[in-house]
């Protein structure tokens, strides 16, 4: 109903960075028109007054800090490396093109006057950008290629003002840019799960067939907004191809592009309502009806509405056994438990199905259900339980071929900026024409120390990544800088397709070898 104002025609919009990120279309899948001004923390509004006099340049960078003192030694996954992903979305959606207009400046001025109860807004600075750059942002962003897998503690991108009058702009865009912690963290956590699955799949089946469909995204309902769903689900698709979070595909198609028509796939599946709507005494009828509706494609059926074990033993194992045996490897029945302790439930379901249906042993000596029946565990799956389940299955001689996983909250929501210690810090300023390397180094927490000076990222002859500080990367001997300019003065100058992103992030041979040691 309010469509007029939010769906691309936004009078003002919820978000926008330079002034208030005014007039930003707030619909996550909406049009890219009208941007910025509201997209910034209130306090940044007042920062232009706070830099030293005669500052002409501010240079900041983003990293996933390495934790030198690890308080949570028990954490099983270390996340040594991160997948860089998601900058292109932010640039396209919020920073490129004319993001400052006369109206936006005026509106921002009024909003901030109310908000601070004072005139603190830098109207003059924004008018300068409007007049000199036609509302395009005079900043330069250099970043590692999207999809790159980079060890923690290295610079991932840098931001610098390109006009001496607009030194304050660098950190104005911080709030919006720091939100890249989210796609980076989802992609990184999803990739760590891919490594676990790869290891156990290889060990229990001898191949990596089907790996890309082993972890399905169930997270749409569990995230905090539609926009988050789109960003997070697209980050999972960097590593996998199974998703129910449609919004992620839309983000990829719109902001990255793929050679395939869609980057993610799904299969028909039941939910509790489509089972319980038949009544408690008709669970069998519900099951039968649904598998008959989808005879030639895989179909997943949630079977714990009343009693998962009875459903597996009596309904699937006896009443409907004939129907299931008629299905093919291309159209298996996928049984879905959805409650209880994940490992115990999976093992018990496999055990019951293994008694009712003929098992085979694969080349590695692990048990495999007939190809027309599989299991998907989509409840309580996070990176730790995933590890426990595949480990438990292996111990009980079950091949990982038998199972796929679904993950929702743990994949897309149960993450914070602290998991990978994402931070954006100023490291270099020019004042009175002199460059100064700056850093913070709080006495109370050495982990919060920041890097100094202008930064560059390089590979050493042995293949390791190294961040050079204080402009040392300018020297030829260190080879080329892996940071490429992606944004300059309002224009996106380099883009990546989603296929490139996936290729950069794929599991390397050397990683697989390490995993299988």
């Amino acid at each position: 109903m309010n469509g007029l104002f939010q769906k691309g025609e936004g009078l003002q919009t919820l978000v926008g960075p330079p002034l208030l990120l005014l007039h930003k279309d707030s619909c996550p899948l909406g049009k890219l028109e009208g941007k910025k001004l509201h997209e910034i923390c209130s306090s940044s509004v007042t920062h232009y007054k706070q830099y030293p006099p005669n500052t002409s340049k501010v240079y900041s960078y983003f990293e996933c800090r390495e934790k030198k003192t690890e308080p949570t030694k028990l954490r099983k996954v270390k996340y040594d490396k991160t997948v860089f992903y998601g900058l292109q979305y932010i640039l396209h959606r919020y920073l490129k093109g004319q993001v400052v207009t006369r109206e936006k400046i005026q509106e921002a001025k009024e909003v901030y006057r109310e908000h601070f109860q004072d005139d603190v807004f830098n109207e003059k600075g924004w008018n300068y950008i409007l007049e000199k750059y036609n509302g395009h942002l005079p900043i330069e962003i250099k970043a590692v290629p999207e999809g790159s897998v980079i060890p923690r503690g290295n610079v991932l991108f840098t931001v610098v003002s390109t006009d001496p009058e607009c030194y304050w702009l660098t950190n104005w865009v911080e709030t919006i840019l720091v939100q890249i912690w989210y796609p980076i963290t989802v992609a990184t956590n999803s990739r760590e799960q891919k490594k676990i699955l790869a290891k156990y799949l290889m060990e229990t089946s001898g191949s990596l067939e089907g790996l890309e469909y082993k972890l399905h995204d169930f997270g749409y309902r569990g995230v905090s907004s539609q926009e988050t769903a789109g960003i997070g689900a697209s980050a999972h698709l960097v590593n996998f191809k199974g998703t129910d979070t449609v919004a992620g595909i839309c983000v990829i198609k719109k902001y990255y592009g793929t050679k395939d028509p869609v980057p993610g796939f799904s299969v028909p599946a039941a939910e509790h309502s489509t089972i319980t709507a038949w009544g408690k005494d008709h669970e069998k009828d519900a099951f039968e009806h649904i598998i008959k509706q989808f005879p030639s494609v895989p179909v997943s059926i949630v079977s714990d509405s009343y009693d998962i074990y009875n459903a597996c033993e009596k309904i699937w194992g006896e009443d409907l056994r004939g129907l299931i045996e008629m299905r093919s490897a291309d159209a298996p029945l996928v049984v879905r438990p959805d409650s209880g302790n994940p490992l115990d439930t999976v093992l018990k379901v496999l055990e019951i199905l293994g008694k009712k249906f003929p098992l085979v042993e694969n080349s590695k000596g692990y048990k495999v259900l007939p190809p027309y029946i599989r299991v998907i565990q989509g409840d309580g799956v996070d990176i730790n339980t995933l590890q426990e389940i595949v480990e438990g299955m292996k111990e009980h001689r079950w091949s990982i071929e038998n199972i796929a996983f679904g993950s929702g909250g743990a994949l897309l929501q149960k993450l914070t900026r602290d998991l990978l210690n994402c931070s954006f810090k100023c490291s270099y300023v020019v004042t009175n024409g002199l460059g100064v390397n700056v850093f913070k180094d709080p006495v109370a927490d050495p982990n919060k120390r920041s890097k100094k000076g202008r930064l560059s990222l390089h590979r050493t002859p042995s293949g390791d990544f190294v961040t050079l500080e204080e402009g040392k990367g300018d020297l030829e001997e260190y080879g080329e800088d892996l940071l490429h300019t992606v944004f300059r003065n309002g224009k996106i100058v380099k883009t990546y397709t989603f296929d490139e992103v996936r290729d950069n992030a794929k599991l390397k041979e050397s990683e697989l070898e390490d995993l299988l040691l």
Partner: protein, 593 residues
Amino acid sequence: MSPPTFASPNVGQRLFHTCSLTPPISTPLFLILDDATYPCAPSHTQYTEVIAFHYVLSWHTRKVLKRRLSRLVSRGSERIHTGAKRHCFAFTLSSMMAAQDFNFLLATDSYKITHYKQYPPNISKVYSYFECRHKKGGQYNEVVFFGLQYLLKKYLAGRVVTEEKIQEAKVFYQMHFKQSVFDEEGWRKVLEKYDGRLPIRIKAVPEGKIIPRGNVLFTVENTDPDFFWLTNYIETMLLQMWYPITVATISREFKKILAKHLKATSGSLEGLDLKLHDFGYRGVSSQESAALGGAAHLVNFCSTDTVAGLLMAQRYYACPMAGFSIPAAEHSTIISWGKSREKDAFECLLDQFPSGPVAVVSDSYDIFKACKHIWGDKLKERVMERSEDSALIIRPDSGDPAETLIEVIKILEECFGCSQNSVGYKVLPSYLRIIQGDGIDLNSINEILEKLSDEGWSAENVFFGCGSALLQKINRDTLNCAFKCSYVETNGKGMDVYKQPVTDPSKGSKRGRLCLRRNSDGFIETVERGAGKPHEDMLVTVFENGTILQEYTLDEIRKAAQLWEEDVSPSEHNKEDDTSLEIHQKHIINGVH
């Protein structure tokens, strides 16, 4: 000029009166006021008149509005009325409510696309409900209901289905499932029969209400037997309600803790609304989440840096300015002066913001030295020149929050002295305060406040900032939010349905049609199996057949979500049973304003 109230359904006429605008020929259906939309005459669904009434925003904004409206009008609406005052507009446009870019058909879990084939034959109604399930030993006994109005306005109201969207979805799902499973005909019927509006009814608890866990919060059902599959199609979207509910609930728990300590150590609740500042913008997962979470915090407080939340409150909850902030430094503005010039950076801040309060992050190198040698010595006089209205607010930002804060406050006491308040606690001079914005969550804030009062310090001395614990470190399981089907009609007969997994009894769901009532003992309870009496039902129909029927302003929501006296009395802070909450006629002892 203060906004008119919207108590009566025929609000349109009154607004016309207020702004001396000649009403258009037909009765308007909606009003747009500061981007919030108000229904005028819910029964007149055949009208498509829209009135935009806009007076809070700037002249420039009004110009933009006018231009945009003109553009819309030229795209196919019939008429534009411009009022006597230049900021009043009325116009008609049948398709203007349609989501223009957002495809509602693509905003659900993939598998939902296949569900229309899975329900029993001859099913004609699916009725589902949302609750925050009760968990034994759960941390939060009651929840704040907030955020549905945003979802309805942004994604569900109006003409959300168009032929183009059906075509887009059809192609999309063909590729996504590698087969045809999309119910093209079903959706076309929505388009033909209802002009693309959703034949759905949603009944909900009024926003801002405090409801004990384990009760129904809203119900969803199809209003036309042909569209039984639609109820749960929108589950995915509606279940995202967990987020604003959880933020508002957590933020209110913060408020309870702060109120208790503030009352005990200062004798009043003055300034409570500004005690917890939202620092979460950068730590959330997207701009939209920032807006939604930021607005949910504003249900309980008036203090935020998350500008997106203010705009949401303005746009969707009719609150022109819901929260305030003050100038504040960040590390870059300090360290860009160089390590040896921290004092100059601090001094610059005092110079730049002489009249209002200013917050200065002081831990770039050594928070303790900064307090002792810079604030407490070199700039001491400059600090002492300031007043209560222009206080210097020192911000530590690293280390153990409680220990750092205590040490900082002791250093400041040595340098600036302190006085005793009426209840015997120490207070720094009024020109000097502290804000702790690092490492704050419900546990640490309580610990900090306890340590402060143990050492004789009043909670008046400190403000808190909270980022990810408020807006990000929460998930759907924090309050066990669930959406479940409880009732269906098949072959004309109603049946109560439920799930009850043997593997986890806590996942059991409610049965039948539900009613939320306050029983004769004053407790809020959910009546199942259709046994509730309509006149007792606290659930209000907010949405029907594409139209929003009931709206709430942030002011109303804030009133409904106020703390009760019991929340603040120290003895009852850790309530063992949630019954004390629902006593009738509790005294409201604080307001948001």
